[in-house]
Amino acid sequence: MVADSTDSEHRSTKSPALGLRLLLLAALSIILLVVDHRQNHLDAVREAIGATVYPLRILVDAPVSTWRWVRENTAGRNELLLEMSRLNAERLLTHARLQRFTALESENARLRAMLDATAKVRDQVQVAEIMSVSTNPFRHILVINKGSRDGVYNGQAMIDADGVVGQVIEAGLLSSNGVLISDPDHALPVQVNRNGLRTIAVGTGEFDRLDLPFLPNNADIEDGDLLVTSGLGGAFPAGYPVALVDSVLRIPQGPFAQVTAKPAAQLNQVREIMLIWSARDEPGSGAESDSDSDLAAEPGSESVPGAETASPVPEADDD
């Protein structure tokens, strides 16, 4: 108990200083909180501290990645053959689809040229590995192993093989934090693939559910509708699948219907994601990552050419 006695000796002289120190630190935290909440001035500080956490993340990730490496290297011949045949079948299928796709793509480019709209240039993509997911139940954050050194920027879109995963909110030097579309603070401008109806998909805090809170009761939407990004928020390029509508509840006495959708991407199972460098994106734009910018961008739909032509309002030409 040597440690105890040396520690308690100075208690009487230390106690007032303890309270004072708490007051100072509390004031400092509140200043930090306010500054961090209002503006993004602290990005450099976050980046610096984030760089010190990076080795810890690698250490934490090491057992998982070693296990995967061992499993890959010791996989049986039969398993490999099975996987090869599965992949071959998948490749044939994709190739068959791709044949039609190239034809469609050139047709699309021709039609767009006739309409005088900006042709959609193919987006550039880079694969990033996920280091950790959702360390806090109220913030769906994932950390990826690519940072500003690889050209990652704030507001960049992240997708997986099935659909949109989220967007980058803090591009560190070596690793970046991204927010998932299921984060309760995240809102994403989408449109119904079937008829071009535009709305906003808001995260709920559950991995398998998005809310569409701003649809009127008479909106043309039904179960199984595919929602794709509309590209109006500026952060996401248009046309990537986001979610499938899984329930539409029309409330006659309320102004809005209650619509929920299931994200197309496997938000809680992904190991790798793809970062998109869209042709329209220039690094640094869309830095205000959160719902505010997305919501603010929604009414000004004229500012994005191409999206207007792609989304006719269904009632307009019938009557």
């Binding site: 108990m1 040597v2 440690a3 105890d4 040396t6 520690d7 308690s8 100075h10 208690r11 230390k14 106690s15 303890l18 309270g19 120190r21 708490l22 630190l25 509390a26 400092l28 935290s29 509140i30 200043i31 930090l32 909180l33 500054v35 961090d36 909440h37 602290l42 500080v45 976050r46 501290i49 984030g50 010190t52 956490v53 810890l56 993340r57 250490l59 934490v60 998982v64 950790s132 997911v133 959702s134 360390t135 806090n136 139940p137 109220f138 913030r139 954050i141 909110i169 803090e170 934090n177 927010v179 309760p184 603070d185 805090g205 991995f207 809680n268």
Partner: protein
């Protein structure tokens, strides 16, 4: 104090780093809402047993690192950790002689205060939060406290014997 500083600090710093690693280790979705506040538990223990070396300052710096690692508002965990460490450092003499059961109840209260500060800052900042889910870490942390304090007291006696 200064002479033995380094050898005495290293094991505790390693404890804190281990707790930080446990705090960022990926967990399945159902379990992550019951992830105990490893850092809060670690700091509670060491600020009771060595309040002169580890108190509000250490807690605040660790909290800032947690804020960066979790992507929360900068200063949120720092404020919460500094506050509970202030309480434990202030009353460390009383807390040291508490019987085990009373100590568990105190840890429960401290963790509840910790989560309340986080909840409160989330509320002020306008982050959506389900109030019930905040109880998960409090309960799991309280359940784990006897084991954690047992491990740490092993480390502490080994430290005390080494002088």
């Amino acid at each position: 104090m200064i002479k033995v500083g380094a050898s005495r600090r290293l094991p505790v710093v390693i404890c804190i780093i281990m707790a930080l690693m446990l705090a960022i280790v990926p967990m399945p979705a159902w379990a992550s809402s019951y992830r105990p506040d490893w850092l809060a538990l670690t700091l509670i223990y060491w600020s009771i047993s060595m309040p002169r070396t580890y108190s509000v300052g250490t807690a605040w710096i660790v909290g800032i690192v947690v804020d960066v690692a979790h992507g929360t508002l900068l200063g949120q965990h720092a404020l919460a950790l500094a506050f509970i460490t202030y309480l434990t450092a202030k009353f460390h003499l009383q807390l040291r002689v508490f019987p085990a059961l009373q100590m568990i109840a105190t840890v429960f209260a401290l963790l509840a205060i910790y989560q309340f500060i986080l909840f409160w800052i989330n509320g002020v900042a306008g982050t959506y939060a389900d109030a019930v889910a905040y109880w998960g870490p409090v309960v799991s942390g309280t359940v784990l406290w006897p084991f954690i304090s047992h491990i740490f007291s092993g480390i502490r006696y080994r430290l005390a014997r080494s002088f």
